[in-house]
């Protein structure tokens, strides 16, 4: 075989490689077309979509921190209708799997999103954001309580035939417990982590640096926490896990795969190096060839303990 076999399977779907892009860090795909051959990626996860368009939070919305950044975008998005009419046509032609990240304020909204997107051509899977810490009524409650997390999973699964990946919040005491609840609710995959709740203060003005006061921490700074949680969740559930959090290099991706992730998502790194996702696809290919592996699946869960 002259090319590395990077295929992985999640929810019955074969992804050509385990490298996806994280919601909210890759726009609707098109923004990265000048930098990345989108069809080289395993998949694109689009910015979180709600039923109605959202304005998002007041600026300032972002601030850099040591090895990371805080964001309080507040889930600004074009809403379901415009997503379908304005964004999907382009996504249909990118030559890789499209995963739609969804968010809602109520079980009903999640249900409706599952139902409506079920009928849209070109969508491979849904990623259910139960974790975004930015919107007061939103994700937090669902993502931090096992019963609610299970309920929202069940609600979406009941209304769609698409594979459902549930994306977890790291702001919890016991991530494995939430993961098991979501698995019980019928999820076909689990992705984690979303951002960690953080804060920064401008000493000169004595004000928070984000208008929203708090925001979500992402980037290399959080990688150790994300990796630990992915490892815990991979041991706790049988469904595939997608690792997210600070992944910037091929080595980072391999760490998550070794810890038990079937795939990974590249987030903040896209801002630093817009080619990051493609670089990692190529790096994994080289790794498989150099180590004479049958395929990348040999790496998954390959952590040696003792």
């Amino acid at each position: 075989m002259s090319e590395a076999d990077l295929r992985v399977t999640i929810g019955g779907l074969v992804f050509k490689n385990p490298v996806l892009t994280a919601s909210g860090t890759f726009g609707y795909g098109k923004e990265f077309a000048p930098y990345v051959n989108l069809h080289h990626l395993g998949g694109v996860v689009v910015k979180g979509i709600s039923l109605e368009p959202r304005r998002g939070n007041s600026p300032p919305r972002i601030v850099e921190t040591a090895g990371g950044m805080l964001n309080a975008i507040g889930l600004e998005n074009v809403g379901l209708d415009r997503f379908i009419t304005e964004k999907m046509p382009y996504l249909l032609g990118i030559g890789t799997r499209v995963v739609v990240n969804i968010l809602g304020d109520s079980l009903e909204e999640y249900q409706t999103l599952g139902q409506r997107l079920n009928e849209v051509e070109g969508i491979s899977a849904l990623e259910v954001n139960i974790s975004c810490p930015n919107v007061k009524k939103g994700g937090v409650a669902f993502g931090t309580d096992p019963a609610m997390a299970e309920a929202v999973t069940r609600a979406v699964c009941a209304h769609t035939t698409l594979p459902v990946i549930v994306k977890l919040s790291p702001n919890v005491t016991d991530i494995a417990q939430i993961a098991r609840a979501v698995e019980a609710g019928g999820a076909q995959g689990i992705s984690l982590i979303n951002t960690l709740l953080g804060m920064a203060i401008d000493v000169k003005s004595r004000r928070p640096r984000l208008a929203n006061i708090v925001g979500g921490l992402s980037g290399p700074a959080i990688k150790p926490i994300a990796l630990r949680m992915v490892w815990q969740v991979a041991q706790a559930v049988k469904i595939p896990v997608i690792g997210i959090g600070g992944i910037t290099t091929t080595e980072d991706a391999l760490e998550f795969l070794l810890a038990g992730a079937t795939a990974i998502e590249v987030g903040t790194a896209n801002f630093v190096n817009p080619r990051a996702s493609q670089d990692i696809v190529e790096g994994l290919g080289r790794y498989v060839m150099e180590n004479k592996l049958d395929g990348i699946s040999e790496v998954i869960g390959g952590l040696i303990l003792n």
Binding site: G24, T25, F26, G27, E31, F32, A33, P34, Y35, K47, P53, R55, G56, S58, P59, P60, R61, I62, V63, E64, A66, G67, G68, M69, N71, I73, E76, G219, P220, A221, T248, T268, N270, F271, V272, N273, P274, R275
Partner: protein, 264 residues
């Protein structure tokens, strides 16, 4: 879509004032498609601190080959830039955003304050090259003469004879705000198009005068930016209609018509 990522080699690093530098880079892809008002995102280090790229306006392009940036050292990223030397490589993405729109203008006035002058030089050169307008006035302001460094001369050298200056401390030109110069130097009989870039209060004052006079005004804005390519939605600013959807500086700007944005 002419955006690209370019590994640009540093050709020259000039220190114009104690904290203002001008960097010349070989970046033919960006240089050949950049328009005045556009910017690049500069990766200042290959380490993780500082993590994000830094937005810098294109100060000038040279022969579709080189890009010039002018920057002030204010923090970590710009300090790293200032330490770089010819021969080193810098990763740029660009040209980004959309720039000034000058199609068919007659009387043009550029108003720059501090580092806001950076993109105006590119603009002035483009104006002289393409529009040859009957009038082109440049008004430059800074806290003190030293901050302007060689800039006033640069504008005059390319043929902007009407270059007027203002400094807060009276060390050069008018003693006071650069916005004051509008009334002094712009003949109200003309239909001016004013292009401005600089500190927010300065631009606000310029916009307010233009509104009074009924002149067109284009403003180049700054915000914190994570991506520069319309992916993170971090660079939101409120629109003139305060309740409408946010504008995004990296995509809808950085140059806006003054009437599009809120002046709070």
């Amino acid at each position: 879509m002419n955006q690209c990522e370019e590994q640009a080699e540093i050709v020259r690093q000039e220190q114009l004032t104690p904290d203002i530098f001008r960097l010349t880079l070989t970046a033919p892809q960006i240089a050949s498609s950049a328009r005045p008002g556009q910017f690049v995102m500069v990766q200042t280090t290959s380490y993780y601190d500082p993590l994000l790229r830094r937005p810098l306006s294109i100060h000038q392009t040279v022969a579709d080959e080189q890009v010039q940036l002018m920057y002030k050292v204010v923090g970590k990223g710009t300090r790293l830039l200032a330490g770089m030397t010819p021969g080193q490589k810098l990763n740029l993405t660009g040209p980004l955003g959309h720039g000034f729109d000058l199609a068919g203008r007659q009387a043009i006035c550029l108003v720059g304050g501090g580092m806001g002058i950076a993109p105006l030089y590119f603009l002035a050169r483009e104006i002289l090259r393409t529009n040859k307008p009957p009038k082109c006035v440049v008004l430059l302001g800074a806290r003190t003469a030293a901050e302007l460094g060689p800039l006033p001369r640069d504008f005059m050298d390319i043929g902007i004879t009407e270059t007027h200056l203002a400094t807060d401390d009276a060390s050069l030109g008018h003693h006071g705000f650069v916005a004051d110069l509008l009334a002094q130097h712009l003949n109200p009989d003309h239909q001016w198009t004013v292009c401005t870039c600089g500190p927010h209060p300065m631009m606000k004052a310029v916009v307010s005068q233009c509104r009074k006079q009924g002149w067109g005004c284009q403003v180049s804005l700054e915000t914190m930016m994570a991506c520069g390519i319309s992916a993170c939605l971090g660079c939101a600013i409120p629109p003139a209609d305060l309740s409408g959807p946010y504008l995004h500086v990296c995509k809808d700007g950085p140059v806006f018509k003054a009437e599009e944005v809120a002046w709070l």
